[in-house]
């Protein structure tokens, strides 16, 4: 394969894209919405969550006795100082609780610090560096230091934003590839192109390469803009720069290119069967489904927003890509295009 010929084809396609108002609008609008408008909309609830945790509390502790290294079950404790205690099925009020393991308990107007809390109700409490799982109900309390549950929620929101960004490399090829492949077919400009000494692979690489470069350029630019925007807007309330995290980096370096390639090559296959750019775009739009499913599964908690599901999903997409590459090579050859393409 001669790369220079593929580059010539890619440059020609890019020249055509530049002159197509519809393509340019998609290339500008899609990243603009995903990297500017969505992050701004996102920052509001994240900052709101952080602000809620800073609400003032007027707690008074009248500790009249203390408990250390004990096990408490089915007890009601008032005005105590409790340290290194296993607390199960208890009601605790107006107390200071530190370094404890708490299960199925009810806390009111207490200070709970450096403890692990599960399936409990915490109301009007001051919470310092807790390990909280999702089974807790926390009302009118103030967080100080880490809150696992809140962090989980924030992470989920950031990672869902990433999935929305990954729609860019799926959507842009749907539009550009439709014009590049179906458009050339409808315009009957493929035959003169096929009559040149360029090989089928060089043509496919050139045409796909231009779309890939354009889509991934827009995606990575959007990624940088979104990261900067989220960091700048959330740092004052979070106290740190949340992005990019490893989830985002894997998503943007593995999943985004994988989905982009899938979208491009799927359009090659679609092009062999349809004669209308809009029909091609509509069918190509179906490719957003895997991303949407991944998004909904993450949102619904079926998939965690940890690194592993993202890695597995990304690698799965790349495996599917390998299959689509073989299929599109079979479809995109002179004989097929001139004889069998409808």
């Amino acid at each position: 394969m001669r790369i220079d010929r593929a580059v010539i084809v890619a440059k020609k396609d890019l020249s055509e894209f530049r002159k197509n108002r519809y393509i340019m609008m998609t290339i500008v609008m899609m990243p603009l919405i995903s990297s500017v408008i969505l992050p701004i909309v996102y920052v509001v609830p994240i900052n709101q969550l952080s602000r809620q945790s800073e609400a003032d509390l007027d707690l008074r502790f009248n500790t009249t006795y203390s408990l250390e290294n004990a096990t408490l079950m089915d007890a009601t404790i008032l005005d105590a100082r409790i340290e290194h205690v296993n607390i199960t099925n208890c009601v605790i009020r107006n107390s200071i609780v530190e370094n404890c393991t708490i299960l199925n308990s009810n806390f009111n107007e207490s200070r709970i610090a450096y403890s692990s809390v599960k399936n409990s109700m915490l109301e009007r409490c001051y919470l310092v560096n807790l390990t909280l799982d999702v089974g807790n109900t926390v009302r009118s309390s103030q967080y100080a230091g880490g809150s696992h549950e809140l962090d989980q929620l924030k992470t989920l929101m950031f990672n869902v934003l990433l999935i929305l960004l990954i729609m860019i490399p799926v959507t842009i090829p749907t539009v550009t590839a439709s014009y590049s492949f179906v458009g050339e077919k409808v315009n009957k400009s493929l035959e003169p192109l096929l009559a040149t000494p360029t090989t089928d692979l060089e043509l496919l690489a050139g045409k796909s390469g231009s779309i890939f470069a354009l889509s991934m350029g827009a995606t990575w630019l959007s990624f940088v803009v979104a990261v900067v925007l989220v960091d700048v807007l959330t740092e004052p309330s979070l106290g740190y720069y949340p992005l990019p995290n490893t989830y985002w980096i894997v998503g943007i370096l593995l999943l985004a290119p994988g989905m982009c390639l899938m979208s491009i090559l799927a359009n090659v296959i679609i092009s062999s069967r349809v004669n209308d750019v809009r029909v091609s775009q509509q069918i190509g739009g179906v490719l957003i489904l895997p991303v949407l499913l991944f998004f909904f599964f993450s949102l619904a908690g079926v998939l965690s927003t940890a690194l592993l599901p993202m890695l597995v999903f990304s690698l799965g997409v790349l495996v599917v890509d390998a299959g689509i590459v073989l299929l599109s090579l079979r479809v995109f050859n002179r004989e097929e295009i001139l004889v069998n393409w409808k």
Binding site: K19, K188, S189, E191, A195, P197, R334
Partner: protein, 308 residues
Amino acid sequence: MIEIVGLGRTFDGKAAVEDLNLTVEKGEVFGLLGPNGAGKTTTIRMLACLIKQTSGTAFVNGLEINTSSDSQKIRGIVGVLPESPGLYESLSANRNLDFFAQLYGVPKDKREKRIEELLKMLDLWDRRDEPVATYSKGMKQKIAIARAFVHDPQVVFLDEPTAGLDPQASLTVREFIVALKKEGRTVFINSHHLDEVERLCDRIAVMNRTALAIGSPKDLARRYWGRTTVVELASLDPAYGDVVRGLDFASNVRIDDGRILVDLDDPEIRNPVIVEKLTRAGAKIEYVTELKRSLEDVYMKLIGGGSR
């Protein structure tokens, strides 16, 4: 330059081209005539290594078509004008031609010179930077023709080069083809335009899946219609017809519109004998000419009765 040996192609078991045999010499303008579906476009596509043949083979400049070693080389030395111009409408004529010249590997300095030369020959130089979408149909066809020649090919396949063009644009295209012929290029034309083929082509083949007849338009006319001498007389007496009928070399003597028509094998030798006999019989001869048969007559005779 082009040698076709038993070439055939089937689509879903149905023959589009079968057992096609013909040879086109270097510098020749060769026309392929036939009705729709006769296999003309399929033939060009096979020769340009765009689709594969199902039987037979062909050689272009000594290279065998659709072989892994030669296909790309053939595509590099031939120019193809497909049925539709297939230009990039949003790009200018200059950019369209430059793109194809690059794909054919024409160096930048030669590319610019060649594009300028072609656009000037086709009267499009002044509008070279305008998007092709703003061009008329004729202008688009001219750009498509220029594209087929942009890499200075040795062989050019033109599929309906003047289809849908107005008379002036057709004339420009014809003059362009004649100029290229003078440069020694081999031009292979598919056309329905019999008059154009007759004027442009050194030889033609009438085909309907296979070649029904091959030769120069004049040869074909003679081969399929024979040679007919027309004798125009000042006044026609039916007896003059009998005088001609009495000659043993004369066949199919008929009187039509005050003229005597007679089929002859070698009119150059027989015409003086006919003139002498008629003069002796008292006929006053005004003209002795040969009846001209058009390519259309040949085409209709071959295709009209032999159509699928």
